[in-house]
């Protein structure tokens, strides 16, 4: 009974994820596309919770739904083109692109079709997650084993922020000259 319920939850989440992603790529209105993306991110966070990854679910909502999508919405509002709703929103070669996409699907399916998982190798057992919490388990691995990568990601985010500021600052100076 419990297994059936978890499968039903997974199927619901999978159907919603695929349906919302199709809506995102077919929607004419960029604002609607971003809002469907929000629905997709929330369902993905629930999918992470069903995989016992509650810390990742939290940062999925905080970073993606809270920060990245707000950034997208700001830019969509800044450069919202009213003509967007009237002109074509697909390239001329879209039937060929669908064929390419299906070919990609078949290729990857062939590639991973013979996948056999080995027996569990790590120490992140369900009992440990239940005892310590996913955040603590992940934090221990992050700040001991992967501390160098963590520092490098900090520098990367700094560079990204500086890059965004420098790029947009140049625009304002050009606007003043004009």
């Amino acid at each position: 009974m419990e297994a059936l319920l978890s499968k039903l939850v997974f199927l619901y989440l999978a159907v919603v994820l695929i349906a919302t992603s199709i809506l995102v790529i077919t929607n004419r209105n960029a604002v609607h596309a971003v809002l469907w993306m929000l629905v997709m991110f929330f369902h993905q966070a629930v999918l992470f919770i069903t995989l016992d990854a509650e810390f990742l679910a939290a940062i999925q909502i905080i970073v993606y739904a809270g920060a990245v999508l707000v950034l997208f919405l700001f830019v969509v509002y800044m450069i919202n083109l009213r003509t967007e709703l009237k002109i074509k929103n697909f390239m001329d070669f879209w039937p060929a692109a669908i064929l390419v996409s299906i070919a990609l699907l078949i290729l990857i399916a062939k590639g991973v079709g013979s996948l056999k998982l080995p027996s569990p190798v790590g120490d992140m057992t369900p009992e440990r997650i239940l005892a310590e919490g996913h955040g603590k388990v992940l934090g221990k691995a992050l700040f001991t084993e992967h501390i160098l990568s963590f520092e490098v990601v900090g520098v990367l985010l700094l560079v990204a922020v500086l890059g965004a500021i420098v790029l947009t600052r140049r625009i304002r100076m050009k606007g003043e000259e004009a």
Binding site: A3, A14, L17, I18, S21, V24, I25, A30, A33, V34, M37, M40, Q44, F48, T50, L51, A53, F55, L56, I59, Q60, V63, Y64, V68, L71, V75, V76, I79, L81, K88, N89, M91, W94, S101, I102, L104, L105, I108, L115, P118, P120, V121, G122, D123, M124, L138, A141, L142, S149, V153, L157, V159, A160, V161, G163, A164, L167, T168, R170, I171
Partner: protein
């Protein structure tokens, strides 16, 4: 426990849809959103593999992927704003500067 192959199939479909959107859409903002869809699809299978193998490294990798996606969105959107200010255009097939 749901088998990992189900998550891999879901990842496959989401990744193909994201790639399709990246190829066919003309709007640069939607193309960036499609990149996010593809990254999220890969995140799903990484979390599922990490759960099945009971290893933390996959979940740490998802953490880094989310950080890199945030940086990529910031830079990408700054470039879109720059392109729009310069050409008043956000449609990918209108940029023909490199074609001469």
């Amino acid at each position: 426990m749901i088998p990992v192959s189900w998550f891999v199939v879901l990842t496959l479909f989401l990744f193909s849809i994201g790639a399709l959107g990246f190829i066919v859409r003309r709007n640069v903002i939607i193309m960036l959103i499609c990149i996010e869809i593809m990254l999220n699809a890969v995140n799903i299978s990484l979390v599922a593999f990490g759960r099945a193998l009971e290893h933390t490294v996959a979940h740490v990798l998802v953490f880094f992927v989310i950080a890199v996606a945030a940086a990529e969105a910031a830079i990408g959107l700054a470039l879109v704003v720059l392109l729009f200010k310069k050409t008043r255009e956000v449609h990918m097939d209108e940029f023909r500067l490199l074609k001469g």
